[in-house]
Symmetry: C2
């Protein structure tokens, strides 16, 4: 029972228009990340999540970031991040170092080899993003998309995440 049918109930069902929108959106929501994941896995041997982590580091001052900031940036739990960093560390692309300013914190640092890895993989990734997201849209649609996404992000803010959250 996808939202949008079944009368006789009090909840605000989706009307036919909203329903169509929702069906189209959920496809995007599930397909685009899967597509990018597949592309990265194939061309660079890493997951989208791992790419986001390294990409964030590559843009940070000193290519360094606190793990909790990294987790937020990559939209994942700290637990997930911790294990992702462990994997990247084994591959020699990231290393850990205790934060001198806060004994609780750990810093993740992108190594030179890690930087090369991201830099090497980025072009193909960008191309995939273009191909699957930007190219099919008009300039006006790209503008709309940005506004829509920002609006949604404003409400879907950092609420969820049961554990790792306190």
């Amino acid at each position: 029972m996808l939202p949008g049918m079944e009368p006789g109930a009090q909840p605000r069902w989706l009307d036919p228009d909203e329903r169509e929108t929702w069906l189209a959106l959920i496809k995007v929501l599930l397909r685009v990340p899967a597509t990018l994941d597949a592309q990265l896995q194939r061309d660079a041997g890493i997951s989208l999540f791992e790419y986001l982590v390294m990409a964030a580091l590559s843009e940070a001052p000193e290519r360094t970031m606190r793990l909790s900031d990294l987790a937020a940036r990559a939209e994942g739990t700290l637990s997930r991040l911790s294990q992702a960093v462990a994997r990247l560390e084994k591959r020699g692309w990231v290393r850990r170092r205790p934060d001198p300013n806060d004994g609780r914190a750990t810093l993740g640092i992108l190594t030179d080899e890690g930087y090369r890895q991201v830099a090497g993989g980025a072009p193909a990734h960008v191309e995939a993003v273009r191909q699957h997201v930007f190219d099919p849209l008009t300039k006006a649609q790209q503008r709309h998309l940005r506004e829509i996404a920002e609006r949604i992000n404003a409400t879907t803010g950092p609420d969820r995440r049961k554990a790792d959250r306190f």
Copy 2:
């Protein structure tokens, strides 16, 4: 290195506008499914994927579908679906039956109890969809969103799974 910097390369980098759009979009792509997943897990004890499977069945004639069609509808691999159906079968919400018309195929059938489960969970799910997607948008934006999503789906079509390198 998120798309949008580093000159001196031949690939078409994202310009600052595109970059902002992409950053906003990827947040949506990662957060919205996670949010809905959490909501369903919490309120109904099932994953988004399982919900999509049961929802698809609930709308099908005889509440019955071939597993491969189900997999396509829920945007997952057959392997994933097979195991999801196994779980739902254990809970008594779905049962399997060989397709009389094709000895290779298996049909998935939503039981009465399964139907009650979906019907019971749907209102809260719809409410979550509204809250996180539709409510923050104007009517015009909802219209745009639909067009955008349809456009993207048209290209990101079923190429998925497996390389297309040569």
